[in-house]
Amino acid sequence: MMKTFSIGGIHPCDSKISKDCRIEVLPVPSKVFISVAQHLGAPATPVVKVGDQVKVGQVIAEPAGFISAYVHSSVSGTVKSIGPRKDLAGNNMTHIEIDVEGDEWVEGADLTDTLVTAIPEDNKEILDRIKMCGVVGLGGATFPAHVKLCPPPGKKADCLILNGAECEPYLTSDYRIMLERSKEIVVGAAIMKQVLGGCPAVIGIEENKPEAIKAMTAAVSELQATAKGYDGISVMTLRKKYPQGGEKQLIDAVMGRQVKSMGLPIDVGAVVQNVATSLAVYEAVQKNIPLVTNVMTITGDCLPMEKQHNYKFRIGMPLSYIAEYAGGVPEEAVKIISGGPMMGKAIANLDATTVKGSSSLLYLTAEQTVRGVESACIRCGKCAEACPMGLEPFLLNKYARNNMMDELEENAVQDCIECGCCLYSCPANIPLLDIIRLAKGDVIRIIRGRGQK
């Protein structure tokens, strides 16, 4: 029987329209704006000055804390300015503007296609390279990868889970790299597995991607047959259900373990990394290429087939440039999403630039995305049935609207993963997640405040 997570979940449309579009490389624009906040944690500190010459892959900003990451230039050229610029939500953030001249890489970067299967023996060196190359989790949260790969003292990883679920509708970038870069992903997995002390690694893929399952399984067997250090890696087919790619849900599905409330995956011996992160680890460790590119999907029901794309982009490219290159924003689009339709962010500013974690430009039509008028709760319980954390959104909604903080905490509002299943399933169009998200913030602030006393 195919595995999946045990609580809740929904089945939104699949809509993987762009799944057969091969990854195309976007040409470099004349100018890029590279944000210093491309990861979870403290924004990085710029280390270049206006007028500096930079090469592709050169460090332009350094981590400003333990949870932070290096940022590299994605182009070669001259630093034009360093200053505030609006990100996709419209908030000001420091960006480094670089005028592009040529395409010259830093020394040491191996740009060939040759697959390097021999894994360095020194784990410290591996971690160092992952850190120095600015690798962050590319599944959505952009958590610095090296931090996750160093379990705190006393904790041991029992299993490395590679997230190839790509459970969000429409997104196909992970799918494409699983088809086109399968072996590189497996090498990345083997590297991370070694760093974690040789625990088994499981690549979790949903059943709706049979070609990816086939490609990854073939890559695993081939590497196991030809190189050392690839034992204990396997592919697991998962039953399709959203949000399978949620870290907690994936751990439940693959290992049958549940992370305690407010706990970390490593507490139950799990380390979860996205397949795209694994590819970035491969490039960092084996090829010495910092994380300056990623793959994003350009899709939407209102785009004709020839305008659907999977692009390899460089960080700092304006989204408007990519949209133009792909054929322009369709007339029918009323909302543009960066990320999947369930958890992605609505773009307020198309002049914002790509970051390491960019995964899509998704165009949604009015019919698809405009919310209906809110009506009375009919107590159908569909929100509670859908919640993958086993919460009762209808109840949290009532408590939140009445500012009942103690009851909200007792009913675990802080455990909400903001997957959107409740709001998606509500037949009365109650903005459950909007309200719960706010309440969750308040309750977490209260809990943290309590700890400091």
């Binding site: 439940d252 992370v259 909302k335 543009i336 958890m343 405009v370």
Partner: protein, 321 residues
Amino acid sequence: MNKILVSPSPHLHTKTSTKSLMRDVVIALLPAVVVSVLFYGWSELLVLGVSVASCMLLEFLITKYMLKKPCTLGDWSAVVTGVLLALNLPATTPWWVVFIGAVVAVGVAKLTFGGLGQNVFNPAIAGRVFLLISFPTYMTDWTKPAGFISNAAVDAYTGATPLGLVGEGGVEAIKGLDYLDMLFWNIGGSAGELSAIALLLGFAYLLVRRVIRPYITLSIWGTVAVFSGIFWLINPEVYTDPAFNLLTGGLLLGSIFMATDYVTSPMSNMGGVIFGVGIGLLTMLIRYFGAYPEGVSFAILIMNSVVPLINKWCHAKKYGR
């Protein structure tokens, strides 16, 4: 560039709405409606028409002129109440009695509490029970009016319902009833009880369309079967058997369509099971030991009032806790 919308996630929404759910319930009731109209003819059509029309009219007038709230007629819930109320009455019920039932159902049981989502008691059952107590003669008049098609088993029948017969003459009185026959056309009773198959078809539809979860209905059936099974095994001369109890007295109609009403049933699956067991037990206690021959309506109403308590006790299993 065109204007773009910005809002928090999620950006997609299910196509299921309150309206579509309620419409599905009406669709699920259609087989029972068709059977009742075929067998009871014009008088059943009149009951149905008056019931649905007055429920809708009352919902419209009360929300618009008394509550001065946005009209909720579009959510189809008044139609559901209307159809259910009609199916809960004998086909011979006079139109003005039906209207009074609608006033109690929509006006008192539903809108007084704040409308859809706020009512404690199932509106249709509240209406039916009010009529049962206020107009017992009309509510137990089981003479069969002329239908559009005829069936010997149904036509030959006048008098009390099977459960009524047991009430008067004990188990002896129902000897010779053919259960297979009852599966297709239950003799006597409210219009909606006519055909078990029609009701089961509706149940299947509701399950397939994921309108309801099966826990409440199945736990009612299970409890009734087990409870009556035990008593029947102890003394089949006094107590009716499980199949009889499952097929008669509106048990199917109540357990499939009324006990599963979202608003007046518990939220969690566990709560649903407790609720269902409660309804099953109360129904059988009333049937075996109570003054009324039939107890489903009372059982549902009583358990409706316990729902807030059940909701307080029963919570879903949370992840990692």
